[in-house]
Structure formats: structure tokens, C-alpha cells
């Protein structure tokens, strides 16, 4: 790979095709590409420095309760405000009536990346409207 500038004049020989030099348009596109590469690297480095030690921090919020043929579907959104991905995230929901648990349901979310949201649903046989509904995260594993 020690060609250096020796090739610059080779295009002059008539038997060989002229070596193409870079057009202004290509330089513009190359510059955009270069900016993107530098930007992506900088973003990742900054992210690594800023977020490295923060564990996943998951909050759950119920988005809707709908009646389906299979039961009452409680749709929820899980948001991870932490700096690491949670894998195999266990989400469980409980229906209580006056302190006593009458029904539980659970679901696993494969991956919840850092700073991102995923949606899921829990199905109950009893109507959550009449009872107290609570959702919580039981655990996760590191990917």
C-alpha cells in the first residue's frame, strides 16, 4: 500500500484509461458522509462517558383498558430513563379489592433499551374499573 502520488500521472499513457479524479459533487457528498461518521462517533463517545454507570430505570403507565374477547386488556407503556438496556423485563399487574389481591397477570418484555419506550398488555378476567389496578417491574437481566 505504498503507492503515494505515483499514480497521479499514470493516466497520461494512451493505452490505459484516464484515472478519474474526484468531482466537486462527490466531494460534497463525501463531506456529508464524513460529518455523519464524525458525528456518530462523537455521539457514542459522549453517550458512553455520560451514561455508563446508570442502571435501567423503568416507569410503567397504563395507556388504556379495553374489553376484548379474551378478557380485559390493560395496555401499558414502559419507559426506561436509565443508561442501560433491560432485557427480559418482567412486568406484573395486580387487581386488589380492599387490600386483598384478587387477580395477577404478568408479561415479559424482551428488550427495553435505554431512554426508550416499549408497549405491552396485561389481560385480566375481572374488570379493572371496579378494582384497584397496580403495575410493577419485577426484574430484568443484563443483555
Amino acid at each position: 500500500m505504498s503507492r503515494s502520488d505515483a499514480g497521479a500521472s499514470e493516466g497520461a499513457t494512451p493505452s490505459q484509461p484516464a484515472l478519474e479524479s474526484t468531482s466537486p459533487l462527490e466531494w460534497v457528498i463525501a463531506a456529508i458522509g464524513g460529518l455523519l461518521v464524525v458525528g456518530a462517533i462523537a455521539y457514542m463517545v459522549v453517550f458512553a462517558v455520560a451514561e455508563l454507570e446508570r442502571p435501567p430505570a423503568v416507569t410503567l403507565s397504563v395507556t388504556s383498558v379495553t374489553t376484548t374477547p379474551g378478557g380485559y386488556l390493560v395496555s401499558f407503556r414502559a419507559a426506561n430513563a436509565g443508561g442501560a438496556t433491560a432485557a427480559a423485563l418482567q412486568v406484573s399487574g395486580e387487581l386488589r379489592k380492599g387490600g386483598a389481591v384478587v387477580e395477577t397477570s404478568a408479561v415479559t418484555i424482551d428488550y427495553l433499551p435505554q431512554q426508550s419506550e416499549r408497549e405491552g398488555g396485561l389481560v385480566f378476567t375481572r374488570d379493572p374499573e371496579d378494582l384497584t389496578l397496580s403495575l410493577r417491574v419485577e426484574g430484568y437481566s443484563e443483555p
Partner: protein, 270 residues
């Protein structure tokens, strides 16, 4: 600044090359997941190392016969942009990029797919035709150039497999003897490829080079490069984290099998 039709054709070919080579990875679940959970510093390092590798590939193949190093750099950056575009469009259509995802997740997914896509885009010229080989200005690669091509070939094939769970799983399933056998088989296959290519079409080398010299200088050194590339790929994807030395060596040998094929046939591929 009228666009040159040959340049536009080159862009189209690069886009096609990026798709052809990156599609298996664009449709691999582990690649999406690695995009957000892999160590951001390793991802940054991978992207940073991709640029000089592309410049080297442009020297030996690439979009067009280039005159100077800075033209190779321009080609490398153009190809990266094309690959990033191809990855973004495809991932968006697949629904892998969606609202509610963080910038980190989206950028990570695109960057990770840009690496194999840019390789494909750079190879598009030699793979998908273009001018006949005879018309092209092509340097016969030096010894170091040959070793570079071997490394690039190994990286290209091992990148396809390193993200998958199967590499580590196969390593777990193999006994020590099976690992040793696989290493010997890889080395033997590599030598067979190098030997065959040396006499068929490859860069002209004097016929009187003894076989042992060819073996030591190309096959053996090549396989060492392959193992290094395999180890690097596994490490980048976090597949070595927390594993014992025995498992890391074993997984490198497993990944080195496709890597050896890629390295030995690099001169055909690239």
C-alpha cells in the same frame, strides 16, 4: 456542478451493493439488539476502524479507478453515506426504527448496519460488474496488500456471523479436540485456496516459490490474522465478556472457520 452520469451510476451500484451485502444482517434480530445494547465505545471504535479499511479496499477495488489517496478517502466517505442511507430506509420500512425510540437506539442500529453495508457498497464495483477487469488500472497488491485483503475478507465474512448466538453456542458444544480439528481444517482449506489462487489468475508470482514458503508466508500468517479478526469481532459485540480464556479461544476458532474462507477467497471476492 452538473452530476456526472458515471458518478450517479456508481452511487446506484453502491446502494445496490450495500443492500445485497447487508440484507442478511438487516434481517437479523441480534443486529438490531446489538445496535442499542452494545458498548457505545466499541461501536464508535468499529465505525472509526471502518474508514481506513474502506480506504484500503478502495485502493484495490472500489467504485472507480482512483488516482490519489484523497480520492480513495472521498470514495470511502461517499460509500459510508450511501450505506447509512440504505440501512435507514430498510430498517424504517421493516419497522425496526419507530417513534418512541431514543436517539441512542436509532443511531446505534443505523451505525451498526452501516459497517457491513459500506463494505458491500465498496465491493459493488468488482462484484456487480462495471468496466471489464482488463480496462482497469489495478496495482498488483504487495505482500502487505495481500495480507490486508485477507484481513478484510475475514472481517467481511466473520461480521456476518459474529453477532449471532450460535458462534458461542457452537464453541460450548465442541470438545477441545474438535476445536483443534476445526483449526487444522480451517488452516488446510485456507492453504488449498491460496495455493489454487496462486496458480490460477491471481497476481503473477514466480513459479519457483517453494510450497512451504507459500504456506508460511500466506496460509499461516493469514490464519493468524483471521484469528485476530475473529477475536476482535467477538469482542466488539461483547461475546467475549465474562467468558473463560478457553471459551474465548474456542469461539475465535469457530468464527475463524468462515473467516478463513473469507480471507483465502478475498482475492476472488474483493
Amino acid at each position: 456542478m452538473r452530476p456526472d452520469p458515471a458518478f450517479l451510476r456508481g452511487l446506484g451500484r453502491a446502494f445496490a451493493g450495500a443492500l445485497i451485502f447487508a440484507l442478511p444482517m438487516l434481517m437479523t434480530m441480534e443486529m438490531w439488539q446489538l445496535g442499542f445494547y452494545m458498548d457505545p465505545l466499541r461501536l464508535a471504535l468499529l465505525l472509526a476502524l471502518t474508514v481506513p479499511t474502506l480506504v484500503g479496499l478502495s485502493r484495490f477495488g472500489g467504485l472507480r479507478p482512483t488516482a490519489r489517496l484523497r480520492d480513495d478517502v472521498a470514495d470511502a466517505l461517499v460509500v459510508l453515506l450511501v450505506a447509512a442511507l440504505a440501512a435507514t430506509v430498510t430498517l424504517y420500512i421493516f419497522g425496526i426504527l419507530a417513534p418512541g425510540m431514543s436517539g441512542r437506539e436509532i443511531i446505534g442500529k443505523i451505525v451498526l448496519q452501516t459497517v457491513p453495508g459500506s463494505f458491500g457498497a465498496m465491493l459493488a464495483r468488482s462484484q456487480l460488474g462495471g468496466e471489464p477487469e482488463g480496462e482497469r488500472e489495478k496495482d498488483p497488491p504487495t505482500y502487505w496488500g495481500e495480507l490486508f485483503l485477507m484481513g478484510a475478507g475475514a472481517l467481511f465474512l466473520s461480521f456476518n456471523m459474529a453477532p449471532t448466538e450460535e458462534m458461542v453456542l457452537i464453541a460450548y458444544k465442541m470438545s477441545a479436540w474438535q476445536s483443534v480439528s476445526l483449526a487444522l481444517v480451517s488452516l488446510g482449506l485456507m492453504h488449498a485456496f491460496v495455493y489454487a489462487l496462486n496458480f490460477k489468475g491471481g497476481s503473477a508470482r514466480p513459479d519457483h516459490i517453494p510450497a512451504w514458503s507459500l504456506f508460511a508466508r500466506f496460509s499461516l500468517v493469514g490464519y493468524a490474522i483471521v484469528l485476530g479478526v475473529s477475536l476482535f469481532s467477538l469482542w466488539v459485540f461483547g461475546r467475549t465478556d465474562g467468558d473463560s480464556l478457553k471459551e474465548i479461544i474456542s469461539a475465535s476458532i469457530v468464527l475463524g472457520f468462515p473467516g478463513a474462507i473469507g480471507a483465502a477467497s478475498a482475492r476472488l471476492l474483493l
